[in-house]
Structures are given as C-alpha cells and as structure tokens.
Assembly symmetry: C2
Homo-oligomer: 401 residues x 2
C-alpha cells in the first residue's frame, strides 16, 4: 500500500498543471490569501530622510562639546513643517526646527530632541547634549529600498505585511483565486440539516466540517449535495460536481460497498479514473483519489476524524504545492504521554501551556467516530516512525487546526 | 509611569461594562468568531449504537471458540440496512448483517467484520475469529453525551468544532458581534492612498495595517479618516468616530504637539477624558487612553511598529477580556540570539524551524520606523524581565501575528 509521501507525490504529478486563476484585491482585504506574485518596493521608503522626533536638525560635529554646563549655541535658521519640502540648508553653527516626520534639511546629519535644548530670544538655540551623526533620523530607504521584496509568491498575506505594502504605494495585490470545492456526501443513513433523523439515521456532519476547513484554508464551497446510495444518481452528481469545481471531495462510508461505488462513479466519467485506492495511514486508510475531466476527486472515508486529517495532509497539501505555499500552522510541543508503537500515523492532541512549555496530550481514543474528540483537539502529530511510538518528554511537531 | 499590566487593569475597570451585542450565525460561517454562549449537546450522539464496519452483529459470547479450523456457525436472521431501524433481536446462535453505520439490533453486543466470515447456503454464517463485547460498535453516546459541552463561551469557533456541533443538531450559534472600530489618522505629512506624496509627504500606512489587524481579530472598520492637524476638525472627527464605533483608534505622531492635540480632543468631548498618558513599554510608550461618551479611545503613536504592538497587547486584550476569550496565538520558541538588557519590552522576531526546534531571531533593528521590519516579523516576544535581557538557548513565548 502507498505511503503518504508516495501518494502525495503521485497526486502532485497528475495535477501539477491544474489551471489556477489569479485575482487582484485590495491589500487590506487580502489577509490570509496566498500571493500569486512577488511584490517589490517600487521606490525607497521613506523617499527622503525624516526626523524621528520634535527637535532641531543639526550637524553632529557642532554638538560634540555640548553638556548641561557647557551648552552649545546654534543660530536658528527656521522650521521645516511636516509634509513640506525642506527649502533650506543647515550649515556650520546653524540648526532648523523639525517635527516628528519632517524632512531633514540639506546639510544636517542628526536631530537633537527638543527636550535637550532651550530656545533663546535672539533667534538662537542652546543644546545641552551632544548627538552623533544619524541620530534620530530615518534615512532615505531605511525602511524599504527600491526593489526590496516585501512579500513573496506563495506567502500568505498577513496583517504584518500591510504597512510596508501601503507605505511603498502598493494598494492592490495579485492573489490566487479561492479554489472551488464541491462536496458530495453519501450514505443512506445520513440526513441533511433541517431534517430530524429517524431512528437508525444520523446527521451528515462531515460535509459541514469540510466546508469550515475549506473556508479556513482560503477555498470556497460551490456545491454541496447529499446523495443516496444509487449508482446513476451518484454518477450524475459527481459529473455536476466536477463541472463546477476545481476539486471534488466525496465524504462516504468506509464500507467496501460504498468504496466500490465511489470508485465506479469516478471511473465512469472521462479521465484517468481512480489511481489511488488505499494509503498506509491511519486514520484515512481507505482514501481514494482519482481524476475526472482533469480535476482531482478525493474519496474520503466517512468516520469523522479521517476526512479532517485527510483534508489537511492530502487535499490542502495539493493546494499548497500548486500555489508554492510553504506555510503550515505547525508548532513544537513537549509530548506529555507515552504511546506504544501502534497503527496510528496521525494522532489528535490537545495543547496546554504548563511550566513554560506547550505540552501535547492525546485527544482521541481509538474510536474513530468521535466528532467530540476532534472538537477538543487543537491539532495532530504525524508519527512518522511508527516503530518507536511516542515517548513522554520528546519534542514533536504539532499541526494546529 | 504605568506598567503594561497596570494600564490594562485600569482600562478593564473603566470598560468592563462596555455593551456587547450578540448575533446568531450558521455554524460553518462562524469560524474564528468568539462564542457568546456555551453550547451543550442536546442529546446523545449517536442516538443508537452503530456498526463501525460491514459485518455481522453477534453475541460476543457465541464466538469465543471461533478459529480458522474451528469456525462457529450462526443462523442468519436478516439484514439491518443503514438508515433504518433494526426491527429484530439477535439471540443465542443468531447473527444479523449490518453495514457501516447500521443500527445494532437488540441483543447483539459486537460486530465481526465480513472478511472474517463466510455465508453458507442454508441461511447460516461461518465465523473464523472470536470477537469481544463492544468490538466494532460505536455505542449510544460514545461520541457526545447529553449535556456535554462542545464549545464554551469565549472560545473561538474553529473548524474542528463544526462536526460535533452539526452531529448534535446545532446549526446556528450565538457569537459576539464584530466590534466596530473607527480609525483616525493624524499628521500633516500624511497623504491617503490614491494620492501621490509630494516631497516631504509620506503615505498613511498605519490605518491600513490597523484595519488588517482588526479584521484578523474579528472586528470591522466602520470609519477611517485622515485628519490634518487642525483642532476643531480633529475634535469633530473624533466625535463622529465615537458616535459610530465601539472603539476608536487614533494613529498619530509621537510628537509632543500632536500628543497634546489628541489629549485635548479626547478631553473636549463628554466623558472622563484621558486617564492614561504614557505606559512604560517600548515601543508604544506615548500611548494615550481615554473615555469619550462611554467608549474607549486609544491614541497610538505614529511610528509603524508601535500601533501594531499596542493593538495586540492593549486593544485586542480589552476585546478579549470583554468576551472572556483566552485564546492567543502564542507558541514557544528557542531564542537564537543574545540581547543585553535594554529598554525594549516587546521585540519583533522571525521564526525558523531548525534541528527540530522553532527558533526566534530578532527582526527589528532599533529604528522604530520600519514597516519593512514588521513585514518580516512573525511575531514578538514580551520581555518581562528587562534586567536579564534574553539569552541564546532560552525558551520564550512568541506571540504570532
């Protein structure tokens, strides 16, 4: 049976040319969107040297002997109001008043804070401290230099990027269009929301959980249907889904019968059909992946934990590879339990901060039908070395939901 | 000067009764919203015991002698299709076919996988393995029990909560309405987007950065204006802002003049006026906090790093206390540098995974005017013990943007 890495590699090979659209959006509306381009600063920021405080622009050399008892006297040349061009030059023995943000006049190479000076009546100023060259000045290009990369293709735009982009005059950025997902739920025992389940029936919760994970990942759900186990209906719904979406998720049972059903429907449409049937991971072993009309179709088992894990490690993984996005919500934590070697490759964990460290404890019992367990899990650990299990005290990567 | 903790305590005392609205939204649209209520499961999930696989529902006691050479023969009672009520009772020597998700018929206490059985012609089934009581059954209430808390007031709804909520029949939840923010930018040197700055002018980037952080924090910006340093205009705009928003952010200069301006405007409106002027943190020392017409008004210094840090540690902090939200995007990382004791209380850092650990290196130089530095910082460390600085190898909490 395929390993997770081999399965992801195979999926990547089939779909690396999947067409992706770009859209242009306002920078402050682009938070959490994946960048479709590198953005470089088109100019220097600031474009001129600015004062960091209210004070006097001076030649640092002129201030070296200044002290409380030995103030230096400079002649006052005038004021540079913030927002205006500095139309003067500061020469030996001179100073000019600048406010926070004012342009530094030519000649000056430092600013002394107004609190360390005293204005005199005869248009001159006393300085009580020396300053060094560059002091309290933001030099031209100190913040961003022409051509400097502000954000790269594949990065997710974070609020932290916004100030630099806007400061550089960039108000719109090109991001990847939200991938469109269709979700098909299957199972004769399922009822959709708004319907009260009869005895023997349960609510379809997987497709709504998937929708929430898709939305969080930056995608959108364009179609969501619940299909009874009827071959022709199923095939028809799959065709509709493939036509309107970029990727199709089928949330089905784990039963052999339903798995065959899913595989048959995928194989009945134009395209390569099923090329992965089963991956050596747990939960999620019965995963089916196929290609219909150029689009990826993922058959996810119905037990609630599997579709969530598979969405993260396979479906979102493909989306991230397509967009060159390397970001994961991964943290490191101290494992707070022992787990003997078992078949689990992906283990739900709860996180808690204790004694300075973030610690992970198990969140899910063996029973995979636990929506309650997922709801309490902050993330999961990928146990790559099954033969070793996990030991208390070791550091593990935790992928956070 | 007030410590950060003392300032936050004072702000909390003034505004702990700030009225908050609740709204009801669809569960799958509520991702990242803060819950305004505890949600308890109204019933058991599942409401009946279900099969985890395709197989035969049996009495475990009947199977104890089963083996490849010594199969047990049971008489076949019928089938329970998934989604239907089990209208039969399994007694000694009997079994019933169940699919994944089928209701377990009365009497049966275990399920044997179909792969470990063989159907015979005379309406009987051979079992080749023993099963134990409870095997492959999801018992009634195994997932969620009546009254079990699925999500608590103050928690942020995460995609992981959705499956449990929907499985329990909860499709709408009460969350806190998005707090409405007004942002006023001040500074004669600032130009708004769409306008090309003349020599001496710069673009107002702070209000857009704040908008992005507000959006990420679950708030919305209902008003955003750029005001020239004109007392009457400023007062009028502050009044408009206070009237339409829950909280007002003023992004102003750090200059003494502008600080006085902000304090005067806040004091000119009905209410207690300014009650905090300066906090012993860096960056962010010149913070002003006041109360106008019952609403909090925050005067944030204009250097780009300060408003971002202050938004996180003061403004969002108040919003989280008001909603009893304890969630922070905090991780632990290994400090990858030495920092001598300095005046910095909040230090921007970049994160990188190396040799199994997440490591933090400094992202910001001393110059606080760096939008470029913020754009490269993944978060910040709060250096609580300034006398010790930070040492390479120590573990620190990093608050992630």
């Amino acid at each position: 049976m395929l390993s997770l890495e081999a399965a992801n590699e195979l999926i990547w090979k089939k779909f690396r040319e999947l067409p992706l659209e770009h859209v242009e959006v306002d920078v402050w509306e682009a938070v959490d969107r994946i960048m479709a381009e590198d953005v470089l600063s088109p100019g220097n920021v600031p474009e001129f040297s600015r004062s960091m405080c209210d004070g006097y622009a001076v030649l640092a050399d002129n201030t070296q002997t200044a002290g409380n008892e030995t103030p230096v006297l400079l002649s006052f040349l005038g004021e540079v109001p913030p927002g205006e061009k500095a139309n003067m030059e500061v020469k030996e023995g001179q100073c000019a008043y600048v406010s926070t943000g004012s342009m530094i006049p030519a000649g000056a190479d430092a600013v002394i804070m107004v609190e360390q000076t005293k204005i005199q009546e005869n248009n001159s100023v006393l300085l009580f401290k020396p300053v060094i060259a560059g002091e309290r000045i933001i030099l031209q290009g100190d913040d961003l230099k022409t051509g400097q990369v502000i954000i790269k293709q594949g990065e997710k735009l974070n609020p932290r990027h916004v100030a630099a982009l806007v400061a550089a005059g960039i108000y719109r950025v090109k991001v990847f269009a939200r991938p469109r997902f269709a979700i098909i739920s299957t199972g004769d025992e399922l009822v959709d929301i708004g319907q009260e389940p009869a005895v023997g029936q349960i609510r379809d919760s997987n497709s709504y959980a998937l929708q929430a994970f898709i939305t969080r990942a930056g995608g959108e759900v364009v179609r969501r249907v619940l299909v009874k186990d009827d071959g022709e209906l199923y095939r028809k719904e799959l065709e509709n889904a493939v036509k309107c979406a970029d990727m199709v998720l089928i949330s089905g049972g784990c039963s052999v019968g339903i798995r065959d059903f899913t595989a048959q429907a995928i194989n009945s449409l134009p395209g390569e059909g099923v090329f992965i049937q089963g991956v050596s991971i747990r939960p999620g072993r019965p995963l089916i992946v196929g290609e219909c009309m150029g689009k990826p179709v993922f058959g996810l088992p119905g037990h609630p934990i599997a579709p969530v894990i598979l969405f993260k490690i396979v479906v979102e993984k493909l989306w991230h590879r397509l967009t060159a996005c390397e970001e994961t919500d991964m943290i490191t934590a101290v494992v707070d339990f022992d787990m003997r070697p078992s078949l689990f490759t992906h283990l739900l964990v709860q996180l808690e901060k204790r004694e300075g460290f973030i610690r992970a404890k198990t969140a899910a019992p063996e029973n995979p039908a636990q929506t309650g367990a997922i709801s309490q899990a902050h993330g999961y650990i990928w146990i790559k070395d099954l033969e070793k299990g996990l030991s208390q005290g070791q550091i593990a990567d935790v992928y956070v939901f």
